[in-house]
């Protein structure tokens, strides 16, 4: 007896074929028996042909493009053929799924990997510099370790959770890789790395989630070919850019790996931990605690939800993880909480503030930026709708299943922690990021329903080109030009020690132990930066080293930020014309994208603020945590 007939065929046509055993010659659409082979061969070849067509269009499109940025980001740089190529890639996977249980998961995973390579490398091929300004700030945390200065938790926020700067300093030291190359390849490497544990999560949910029968192995069902659809959803709907060179990107890899272990425990082992899974969960959680505070909070939220739902049969695990978390925060990361106390007091668990900074204030700025923000919200809503609809179909069809209950409990745990925001307006983005693996898993739960399957493939195909808008919609600001890099180099090599106002992230990149920097385009509460901030950088900003010389930087990036986020396109030109005429400012460096002025304060320009005001102004000196995207 072959392995395929170990299970009984369903007694009636089912809309939940995903995890049911299907005989070797059943059509996935009708349940009728017929010979698939000739059709299967045609579909297989068509899929490969479409893939070749898609890659040719997309790669050819990039090769024939040049960088042209506007308020919608990178989209204007790319020809229609490129976008058509992106549409055809998921369609190639869709044709594979038409083969039913004969679909090649290897081929579909290959399609996803190609999509990731094309989309994630496109900005690099057009720009030739590492994108995303906060990447440079995060290298600024690595730099003191590389230079032998060591960890300075009072000055650098992420030195309170120092695994990332230590590991990256070791990587740079051991390999000799340049910081810019490291930052340039980091996002695509991380994104590909995410797909590995994510594949394990999705496979477990799709194949093993619905009953003991599915676990007995062998039968190739639709569930076994459905899971790569989750990879597609993750790649297409992940517009968050949180894979840039950062502690949270590394912590997220730990998080998904931790989640893969947890899914295995809950779905396949009925929530019972073994020695190996215990060591894996505790070890990965400890690494997360050492890397990123918010990710560890999310883990605790998920653990609490799963324990409360009795899906994880080890109540002590949440206590142990909570203990590890709190011990680190209190005994090691204390400087952060003391430094950030004012902000935490006003924002922690404040729901109205949370909604305002995470949602309301995001849909502002230039009309194009507001449209991109609205598009992101819409796209995210579509993913939630797909997952919700899929769960509904699943629950109505077969009742509760362990994998679906796990997904719901997981999302509840993530949402529960959301108001514990310490990051200004980025928390909702991170909630989406943390939810994505499970949303993707839930969205493929009803893959066995033919109509839903078509809807899912259509949604992925439509969203694939839109991804360029949602992912790279802020590229006007996220792009760092070669001229700006030259300006950064001048700042780090010729100015220290110095206070740097503006030109973000020029003063946060290299030689950071001897540079103190303030971002000139961040609003002071509800007030945007004004000309007076440039004429007197001590007016609203506290500086740790008042004896250091102060420089004012005007850069292309600041101008883009003013235009995109504050809808003030001509403001930086106005500032430049004023500074050029003012004898207190002297140009010490200039190229088309960067102008650096030294500032000689007049006697009347001494800091007007008293100790309290200066302390409040100083509390804004948080380079990377409050950055607006």
């Amino acid at each position: 007896m072959s392995r395929e007939v170990r299970k009984l065929e369903p007694s009636r046509p089912s809309c939940l074929a995903m995890t049911e055993a299907i005989g070797p010659r059943l059509s996935i659409f009708t349940g009728a028996r017929f010979q698939l082979r000739p059709t299967d061969e045609i579909l297989r070849n068509t899929s490969w042909g479409l893939l070749a067509f898609a890659v040719t269009l997309a790669v050819g499109g990039v090769a024939g493009s040049s960088l042209r940025l506007d308020g919608y980001g990178l989209a204007a740089s790319l020809p229609p053929a490129y976008f058509l190529g992106l549409i055809c890639l998921p369609l190639a996977s869709g044709i594979q799924w038409l083969r039913g249980r004969h679909a090649s998961t290897t081929a579909i995973v290959f399609h996803v990997v190609l999509f990731v390579l094309i989309v994630w490398l496109t900005p690099l091929l057009l720009e030739w510099t590492p994108r995303f300004r906060t990447s440079y700030v995060n290298f600024g945390y690595v730099d003191p370790v590389l230079r032998g200065v060591g960890l300075l938790p009072d000055r650098f926020i992420y030195h309170n959770w120092p695994l990332f700067p230590i590991v990256m300093a070791a990587v740079v030291g051991a390999t000799g890789i340049s910081p810019t190359l490291l930052m340039a390849v980091f996002p695509v490497v991380m994104m590909l790395a995410y797909l590995v544990p994510l594949g394990a999560i999705l496979r477990t949910i799709a194949i093993h989630g619905t009953g003991a029968g599915d676990d007995s192995g062998g039968v190739r069902s639709l569930g076994q070919v459905a899971w790569p659809a989750g990879l597609w959803l993750f790649a297409v709907f992940n517009w968050t850019s949180q894979d840039y060179f950062s502690p949270q990107a590394v912590a997220y890899l730990f998080f998904i790996t931790w989640l893969a272990v947890l899914v295995h425990v809950v779905v396949r082992r009925a929530g019972v931990l073994t020695l190996a899974t215990t060591i894996a969960l505790l070890g990965l959680f400890s690494l997360i605690v050492l890397t990123h505070v918010l990710t560890s909070l999310e883990v605790l939220g998920v653990l609490a939800a799963l324990t409360a739902a009795r899906l994880l049969r080890r109540p002590t695990m949440i206590v142990t993880c909570g203990l590890i978390f709190i011990v680190w925060q209190l005994n090691v990361a204390g400087p952060f909480f003391a430094f950030y106390a004012d902000r935490l007091q006003t924002s922690l668990l404040d729901i109205s503030d949370f909604v305002r900074v995470n949602l309301g204030s995001r849909v502002t700025g230039s009309p194009q930026h507001a449209q991109i923000a609205e598009l992101r919200i819409l796209v995210t809503g579509i993913l939630f709708a797909l997952a919700g609809f899929s769960v509904l179909v699943r629950l109505l069809g077969s009742g509760r299943s362990r994998s679906v209950m796990f997904g719901i409990a997981f999302l509840f745990g993530i949402a529960f922690v959301a108001p514990a925001s310490v990051y200004g307006g980025e928390m909702l983005i991170r909630v989406l990021l943390f939810s994505l693996p499970m949303l993707a898993g839930l969205a493929v739960a009803a893959f066995g329903t033919g109509a839903y399957r078509l809807l899912l493939v259509a949604a992925i195909a439509v969203m694939a080109p839109i991804h360029i808008l949602t992912h790279y919609g802020n590229e006007l600001h996220d792009y760092v030009s070669p001229n700006e890099l030259a300006g950064f180099e001048f700042v780090s090599s010729s100015l220290p020690p110095a206070n740097i106002f503006g030109g973000y992230p020029a003063g946060n990149f290299e030689n950071t132990a001897l540079l103190d920097a303030r971002n000139s385009y961040l609003s002071r509460g509800v007030l945007p930066s004004g000309l007076e901030d440039f004429l007197n950088p001590t007016l609203h900003h506290g500086w740790s080293h008042k004896d250091w010389p102060t420089y004012i930087l005007l850069s292309r990036g600041d101008e883009a930020a003013m235009e995109l986020f504050q809808n003030r396109p001509g403001f930086m030109s106005e500032v430049k014309s004023v500074l050029d005429r003012d004898p207190a400012f002297r140009v010490v460096y200039a190229n088309p994208d960067v102008t650096i002025y030294s500032w000689q304060p007049r006697a009347s320009s001494s800091p007007p603020c008293g100790p309290v005001e200066c302390a409040v102004a100083g509390s804004r000196s948080v380079p990377s945590m409050a950055l607006r995207r």
């Binding site: 931990l273 215990t278 206590v319 909480f337 935490l344």
Partner: protein
């Protein structure tokens, strides 16, 4: 409260530190609060709880597993005290409680 301050206090009172350090010792004692014991206790609690988790992961027939099961309630109680005390201390640092 740092461990260094505790050490200075102890050494000063024991007469190990030279006279110049006496005032530092007094200051350190004055700075001691009711939660000074939290640092060392919490580190010990982490080690013990991790061992407890490993013990509870063993097969039921193992002696260490039975020991871990019996010790669960008292150890969790201690761990919860540490978590709550640390949370209180953190809230003090942030300024949620005075």
């Amino acid at each position: 409260m740092s461990l260094q301050a505790v050490a200075v206090a102890v050494l000063s009172f024991a007469g190990v530190l030279p006279p110049g350090h006496d005032q530092r010792g007094v200051d350190a004692v004055a700075a001691l609060d009711s939660l000074w014991w939290l640092g060392p206790l919490s580190l010990g609690a982490v080690v013990v709880m991790v061992l407890l988790e490993l013990g509870k992961s063993l097969p039921p027939e193992r002696r260490l597993r039975r020991l871990a099961d019996r010790a669960t309630k008292p150890l969790v109680a201690v761990a919860l005290i540490v978590v709550l005390s640390s949370g209180y201390r953190l809230a003090e640092i942030i300024g949620f409680v005075q």
